[in-house]
Amino acid sequence: MKKEKITITVDGKEVAAYAGETILDAAKRAGIYIPTLCHHPLLSNTGACRMCVVKIEGTGRQNLNSSCTTPVNDGMVVTTESPEIKKMRRLNLELIFSERNHQCPFCEKSGNCELQAVAYRLGMDYVRFPFLWPKKEVDASHPDIIHDANRCMLCGRCVRSSEEVDKKGVFAIKGRGIDSDVTVNIDGRLGDTEVTKDDVAIQICPTGSLCEKGLAYSERYGERRFDMKPIEGPVEPK
């Protein structure tokens, strides 16, 4: 079936879009960067992280919408950058940082981390909220993978990719709200699952929560993905 072509306006620019696709996809094709974290092109979208929020004009709604889950409509007018949107993304980012132990200097993902890179790009110079310092588990039972819940941002990428791409359904999220955690076999050990280091679920963790063993600090400062170049979008699996 041929997709119906429509036109939407993004930041004052007319953008060709296909009916049914998301605002994020249409904007991306037009070369407009919208920060994302839970979104990944290989996966379904859940709108979990709220980094990609945009303003849809003329809806009469005060709130912002996540562009990764909102489909385009013909004639839709979208704003992706404004002081208000910037403020909300920044606030959201600070909440993510304050909830867990996202301490970059001793994280092996530093320099290759999407959460950190989005914080750089948005100029997050500090966190206004009290850090919660939760005491979280590190699961090193797998021979090739470390799962550190201290660095998790509950984006659900591992859950979705294990289900949708790797076809293993290894990961799940347990608990409610701030007490949620990524888990395997309900509090089981990663080493007892069929997950491998080459699974997309491990490759596309946006933070240092899921890391391949043996690669820590193998790249020098300046050689890592986001040392010199700002983030443009989600990282590709190897």
Binding site: Q103, C104, C107, S110, D125, F131, W133
Partner: protein
């Protein structure tokens, strides 16, 4: 100090941190000479002056881990026109805040009693008024006082420090995104 104020006064301090941020300040290399032409250094681990006067710019390295840190920081806030949280420990807690997963009692017992290499036959944990009490949790500088600027990095890049100081001395306060991308880092 009170007689003639020709140059802006810069003071720095080092709370719960490793001195790395101060090393990075020295790492501006020969520009330190230019900087000393532009400002007067007051209290700082580099100068060792003891009494903090009113200052124009203060750089605060380190997190707030004990009562002494708290007192020093509040004194700096009172006397500094422009206070900068300097580096990741000051801004995010970083290494000093790793103890926040434990109680103070657990930390002290680990350090003074339980560590294999410890020789402490009487089992004494140091106390007394000369020993600053540890706070229940390590705090960041912006959690304790209002900061006028936050320059992250472990340590902040020397070029970022130089950029920020020269901008401030020229009367501008740059947005974090105006710091060159390669110099605005959390590690």
């Amino acid at each position: 100090m009170a007689t003639k104020k020709s140059k802006p006064i810069v003071a720095t301090c080092w709370l719960a941190g490793c001195a790395g941020c101060h090393m990075s300040l020295l790492d501006i290399d020969e520009r330190i000479v230019a900087l000393s032409e532009l400002v007067d250094f007051s209290v700082s681990p580099i100068t060792d002056f003891k009494e903090l006067p009113e200052v124009d710019i203060a750089l605060i390295e380190g997190a707030v881990a004990n009562e002494d840190n708290m007192e020093v920081l509040k004194d700096f806030r009172k006397k500094a026109k422009f206070l900068i949280a300097f580096g990741d420990c000051a801004i995010f807690g970083n290494l000093p805040a790793m103890r926040n997963a434990f109680t103070v009692k657990e930390c002290l017992e680990e350090a003074f009693l339980d560590t294999e290499s410890t020789v402490n036959p009487n089992g004494i944990i140091p106390t007394g008024e000369d020993v600053p009490k540890l706070l229940p949790k390590v705090l960041t500088v912006p959690q304790v006082v209002k900061t006028d600027y936050n320059l992250p990095g472990c340590p902040p890049d020397a070029d970022a420090i130089w950029f920020l100081l020269t901008e401030l001395l020229a009367g501008r306060v740059p947005e974090p995104t105006e710091i060159p991308y390669r110099d605005f880092k959390f590690d």
